[in-house]
Assembly symmetry: D2
Homo-oligomer: 302 residues x 4
């Protein structure tokens, strides 16, 4: 009885690429965190220590920087697609490549009520994300494009309840018909196409998620997520599927009665841990199979 090298991949993670566009008077900035992952005929590097088929992760890093100049970073989806295609098509042993990009948000500095041409202020901790996987070459090539966001921190101070839930031996939670609901949303959507107006689509989907979070009267975070997700799929026919992962960032009403005070939903303790974690996927009926889209490298080892 023996054993085998059952799976493997390698790459360069967290390449911090900053691309400045300075052709026009008004500079633009795209601030990225890029990770590359290659799969293919690399077994000998593991089994024998033979590197002859291994493109160094250092070269992958160089490619990410060079492409930022050569191809530009008009939109992170197109940039990731160019990189992933390059690795599959130009590096012989590569069978498939995944490129993950996070983009950080900057706003223009306002001076005297005008946009400053080359000064920026970091807008939020939120990141815009893209993940492109390219498998194979020529007519067999399959491409998957995911877009998304993470750490979109949302809170509503009313319009949320949690009641009528199942009770078991270990249930002590009181029902509530008015609570604070807060989350740090991760949302990722899979595209039916490999081309699109990615910036405009991202703006539209982000706004839709925020609006639905705000306006849906929430009987549970589950319900909010579904309504957020289905609004995206319903109004964006180019989206095959959206996945939402939302920690329930608990805000506990502080009991002030020992001090003779009545706390009518005005003072809360924002707790760190534990937190609820609610996740769902909303998928178009006719969506094609996801293929390798959702195999995040971060989860490789469980």
């Amino acid at each position: 009885m023996g054993y085998v090298l059952a799976a493997h991949q390698y790459g360069k993670a967290e390449i911090r690429v900053v691309r400045i566009y300075r052709d026009a008077a008004q500079h633009q900035i795209r601030d990225l965190n890029v990770s590359t992952y290659l799969r293919g005929d690399f077994a000998d590097a593991y089994l024998q220590g033979d590197q002859s088929s291994v493109l160094p992760t250092d070269s992958q890093k160089n490619t990410a920087y060079a492409f930022a100049l050569e191809r530009g970073v008009a939109e992170i989806e197109t940039y990731a697609l160019a990189l992933a295609r390059h690795f599959v098509e130009q590096v012989e042993p590569v069978r498939s490549a995944r490129v993950d990009v996070e983009e950080y948000r900057w706003e223009r500095v306002r001076v005297a009520e005008s946009d400053h041409p080359h000064a920026f202020v970091r807008a939020s901790q939120e990141a815009r994300t893209a993940s492109v996987t390219v498998e194979g070459r020529g007519s067999d090539q399959r491409i998957s494009v995911l877009s998304g966001l993470r750490d979109l921190v949302l809170l509503k101070s009313t319009g949320s309840e949690f009641a009528g839930f199942l009770h078991d031996r270990y249930t002590t939670l009181a029902e509530t018909h008015d609570r604070v609901l807060a989350t740090a949303l991760t949302a990722t959507w899979r595209h039916l196409r490999t081309e699109g107006d990615w910036d405009a689509q991202h703006t539209s989907i982000r706004q839709l998620l925020i609006e639905r979070f705000a306006t849906v009267h929430s009987r549970a975070l589950q319900q909010s997520l579904w309504e957020m997700g289905r609004a995206v799929v319903a109004s964006h026919e180019e989206v095959a599927e959206i996945r939402l992962s939302a920690p329930n960032k608990h805000h506990y009403l502080v009991d002030l009665s020992p001090f003779g005070l009545v706390n009518r939903g005005e003072v809360f303790h924002a707790d760190d841990r534990p937190y609820g974690l609610i996740q769902c996927a909303v998928q178009r009926d006719d969506a094609p199979p996801a293929g390798p889209s959702w195999q995040a490298p971060g989860s490789f080892a469980g």
Copy 2:
């Protein structure tokens, strides 16, 4: 030869107080991280384990929550001042109290081009800060109020140089007349008064810091900081002093010449560590002594 208990203080750190104002149709939120530090006649707790003079840190936490309701959190400076005064004036063994507050920024969600009444999106990683120290009672009472901000992340993509510097045996840095300048600013200013329109003043000073960072042609981060700081002191006569601490978040031009590419200030590597750290204080000529204002609890043990 002996030894003594030379100094001591204690308190409750990082109380996460969230205050919702829900009286009007338009809710408001103030999201705080509060820390309290008490100094006074607490030596017996150390020397003998005698707690009879020790107000539990748990009670300090309760007070922070109760005050958020009783006194409200109109502005973090007034809230911190109320708390610090309370500890000194109402808790017998307390000789001085420091209350630090961080406030996190939220923006209203926009729905159909209107502000939503009770939904919010976290605005940035930046925090607004206040630190109030109250010493003594009655006519001997001294009060220090600091306001500030931290993690205001700024970047300019041109208008910054670094040249003409000192060379020693270990100097290899090339001069540059056009570089990216980026920082995550911490700024703290000391007030001449204990009352003010804190919100308006904060908005004004923050905007001034950003504008000066943007518009000063920078021959070094040092120069930018001085120009930022002095603009605040010059235009805000109620500010005795401002201190600025600014990491130089290095953006290194990537050498793309091995790939036949010319990188004219367009592609950078955003490095993590090490970073320069530039600090300065700008003080009004006639500023009174700072007293205990700047003794941050975080630096107690070096």
Copy 3:
């Protein structure tokens, strides 16, 4: 054309359970971070906001604490298994449950060359991990048990090279036959059985991973990982598969030649980002299918 709720799960993440065994003179401590995830008939919570089938995440938290007393935490695998089984077998709508546990390492304090009976010092940032998934009831029940560790930080100061690799247009890396090799290992292994001497097995596998990292002359981190993984599978017949994820924490030789110094592998810069990321799985020939074992909740949304 429509859309569906294609997948969903929910639970309580990062429940910080500390269990003290104080029956004997020598106390014991098990310090855990527990996360629970339930899948089953919960669609109505999403689709209609109907909570009648939803066991609150708060109840899941309570269960984790109660089980730490009722069932104890002899070993994290048995504790996780008891919890996961409970949710599937006792909570009607639950079809499958996953319980993830991290355990933090404490060592006994030594006083006068003896173990102190009830004082401990935190041993390292490393965590021991277990993930148990239970699906179904009765004879259809399927159970998957994973064990592992994360953040085992290893370094060898010689005995590592990287040469003979593939070159493409973007390759500038020099070959090296003597470098520092460092990583923060995540390793997870899947068991063939649901019972075992988990503590002894963990100690044995951890030691094997460390020994192989140390003693294999490394021609690449890939080779080291394979040798580490296969040693585990070869000597632990109860292990179906092991997965390894290893950042290549780059230590760059500092060029000191401008200062007239020759750096013969003695002074390095430990870089933060980017880093290589090497991953592989070693599997026994006759391993049964993994089932849901590796579907980490953290990767749900990509």
Copy 4:
């Protein structure tokens, strides 16, 4: 009325220097995080953007790496002292320099019950620290040496109480005569001398702190800290002063009575925030003034 540049300093923070000693068969590793801060005649850089007196922070970084080879890192105190002296004595405009060093702990890998010659495993999150300040030259030179540690995480599962404390209007805490006491200690001690057997002294003081934490029956964390600090000063006549900063990492007894269980100090919730923060200084009667020792750069701006 005008304003002045009242204070300033600059330097390079978090230089990640790794020094390998490979002369003997048994390699040694010293893994450092070094920060340098210079004060002196640098006003023109702020006021006029004139860099002619400014040694680049990049040169300071280079010096830290070069000294790791030229002078070695036998002990972090001597390394920091050499660096700080160099800046003051060799760089003309520098009036005083502070060098902070953190050292990370590695243990040798054990293979077949022997120490492996060149493989290491990271020992814990704890860091050893040193801070050296050098002011002036020649006979006026003043030198301050601090040594210490941070993030020494300690826990005792009994032998700790908290009772008999002051009550005010906001006190709800119950007294306890048996609780878990846990902290992540920062300790820093100031030396009377600038030479010493730093490694041996560090080992001795660290052990003393741990032993006293373990063996003192604690009526409050305050009392434990005093007993820990005074043991150091009493037995180390070369220590002028020690400062201790200790978060009270609360472990709350979980109420399991709703589930018919009696929790006799066996199951706890390890809470994140808020936490108590207890700080004290124990000083030798005849200690000379501290001078600039404790002016941590991190607290410059409050």
